[in-house]
Amino acid sequence: MDVFLSQLFIGLSVASVLLLVALGLTFTFGQMNVINMAHGEFVMAGAYTVYVLQTSVFSASMATLAFGLALPLAFLVGGVLGLILEFTLIRRLHGRPLDTLLVTWGVSLILQQVARDIFGAPNVQVKAPPFLDGGITLAGVSMPYTRLFIIGLVVVALVAIWFYLSKLPAGRRMRAVVQNRDLASASGVRTPRVDRLTFFIGSGLAGVAGVAVTLLGSIGPTLGTNYIIDAFLVVIVGGLGQLRGAIIAAIALGVANAYLEYWTDASLAKAAVFGLIVVFLQFRPQGLVVTRRRGLA
């Protein structure tokens, strides 16, 4: 029972990281059919935001403040990087997914090298805020505060996205564009503007994910590449552009990974999860959740 519960918690924490990275990707994917290979580098930019705040702006004793401030700031950093990418490149490649893919991949390599030139190749260090030291034990399951914090962060992000999409006019316009771009455009929605906003939010979420992963892993120029493949899997299994699907997929992948790894080992678990995904896509090539569209396309 102990093992069952503790692995469940580990699975959920893995899922929360996956989902945090995949959320922004789902956004841009669903809205614009853009596979943004540079998404992982926006995550990296978010991670370096904490680093810069901690080393250059605040003194070491204010690690908590720097970390707290990094969350909104990383959202901005990621968002602005995304805006620049959208404005300079993606906008010009509308309807050419293959080209976008190659271009954004090139951008990801450039961003990695830029990070290497600015911050150096070795990993840098980010201090976790002292209040995240330690953890609690509940029903025999030890839960580190860092893990709980990330799970909480995902929940907050999901609530914010839900609120935005269902309660705000801008969110409704975004949904209109997702469901039928031509009709939305004909009804007076300025689709390029909606696209830009979507890209800003999606990339901003990557920045926030970057702050979160500093609590768990390395902070270096190739940080993004460690997470991006798994994030793509979440998006594909969940169904393109489906938030609900992404949530279910992230939890399923995270939990499956945790139990499989417990019974076997990390390499085998990874292979097994890939195998399961291949089988799953044979039966549901559209992913978990599919929107019925009224568009002719």
Binding site: V17, P122, K127, A266, P285
Partner: protein
């Protein structure tokens, strides 16, 4: 606008990832220009005014974090030699290539350095996988490779000089230290490739002969970021100590999450053989403080040569930089090659090999000597403990340099490995 079918999208994605791997493999020679010194020392003259040497490390990809630092110290050694008049009256010109953390690329770039750049020797590699990939290239071309990192032993190529420790100069002293500290059971954690798997095979043979119980053996892929499950396995098994052969970024995730799970160095010390000063800085000293490591050199090693080395390195690359064992080995191996070439009066690989036999050098780690036969170095083993300030404090050292024994011939338990 037509939506892409998912199948097609998937195919594109897979193609992209494969393309990424392929291009990362071969599109990296541009990094030659970003290496700081290659431009300044390069002379267009191929008429023999300079001696070219190759420097082949991963300057991109998951191993760049470690290998870039070795390149830095090798370039420092070349600059020192050049300032002192060069080798055989000629300046040394480094040709820098990027192995891109991709093993076939190492082989390809090695071939390029040998046949196009006609380098006199190559300094390079980090992972054993990259060394294994380069080995046939250097052997078939009868060219020299100097390899700067501790490794798993069981190898002795006539065209490779091994400047890092072999098993009996690092891992076995590490194990014996743990046993001396009272560890009766071990859990083995490593990255999933050549070095950890071979090292663990040797560790298991040692453990059997020494009545130490191995409670588990786990491997994770390079670049793995989630250690929750592995840590709960450690907590279930409750070993007296963990022997850690993880490499690269994974160490950061492992130690951060270990601390998050509330496991301290006192409960379960983790002996690492790939965590040096550079990695400690990336992990965060507070996450790894108190855990032991095994190496042959620390930045704090107390020799006049080391004080000079640390000072020169910081003057060249900045006061916030640290020096580590592989960096020191990289620095030492360039000097050893230069001394051997000088002694041989030639850069011809066969003559350099001949001249290198028994050569000694006062290295930052103390005096090292090239073994007459196996081309490894005599090195002093040192166990250290990570301090909260990120430095490593030596707690144990062998009595003088240990003779390299890559095949563990002097150990009875190692028969049949």
């Amino acid at each position: 606008m037509a939506r892409l079918g998912l199948t097609r999208l998937l195919a594109i994605l897979v193609a992209a990832i494969v393309a990424a791997a392929a291009i990362a493999g071969c599109g990296s020679s541009s990094s030659e220009s970003d290496a700081e010194t290659s431009g300044s020392t390069a002379s267009a003259d191929a008429g023999g005014e300079t001696i070219r040497v190759g420097i082949l490390h991963s300057l991109s990809g998951t191993m760049a974090i470690s290998e870039v630092t070795v390149r830095d110290s090798e370039l420092l050694a070349i600059e020192e030699i050049n300032r002192a008049g060069g080798v055989l009256g000629k300046q040394i010109e480094p040709v820098i290539e990027d192995g891109a953390s991709d093993w076939p690329t190492f082989a390809e770039k090695a071939q390029k350095l040998i046949s196009e750049d006609r380098v006199a020797a190559t300094f390079g590699g980090w992972t054993s996988a990259s060394r294994k990939a380069m080995l046939p290239v250097f052997e078939s071309n009868r060219a020299l490779l100097f390899y700067p990192v501790q490794y798993e032993g069981l190898e002795q190529s006539p065209y490779i000089f091994y400047s890092g420790a072999t098993t009996n100069q690092q891992i076995i002293p590490g194990l014996e230290y743990l046993k001396e500290q009272g560890a009766r059971s071990l859990f083995l954690v490593g990255s999933d490739y050549v070095f950890p798997r071979t090292a663990n095979k040797e560790i298991k043979a040692w453990a059997e002969a020494n009545d130490v119980e191995i409670l588990g053996e786990e491997y994770t892929p390079l670049g793995h970021t989630e250690y929750g499950t592995l840590i709960s396995k450690l907590q279930d098994a409750r070993p007296d100590a963990v022997f850690n052969t993880l490499n690269g970024d994974s160490n950061v995730a492992f130690f951060k999450q270990l601390k998050g799970a509330g496991v301290t160095a006192r409960d379960m010390p983790v002996m690492s053989v790939s965590v040096a000063e550079e990695e400690v800085a990336g992990i965060g000293p507070e996450n790894v403080a108190g855990h032991p490591v095994a190496w042959n050199y620390y930045q704090t090693t107390d020799t006049p040569e080391n004080r000079r080395f640390v000072e020169a390195f910081r003057a060249r690359y900045g006061a916030d930089r640290v020096t580590s064992d592989p960096m020191e080995a990289g620095y030492v191996q360039v000097h050893i090659w230069a001394l051997a070439a000088e002694k041989a009066g030639s850069t011809d690989p066969e003559k350099v090999k001949e001249a290198a036999r028994g050569l000694t050098f006062d290295a930052p780690e103390g005096r090292v000597r090239v073994d007459d036969v196996n081309q490894h170095l005599f090195k002093t083993a040192r166990i250290g403990v990570v301090e909260p300030d990120g430095q490593i404090r030596e707690v144990w050292a062998s009595d003088g340099p240990i003779a390299p024994d890559p095949y563990l011939r002097t150990y009875d338990w190692a028969e049949g490995l």
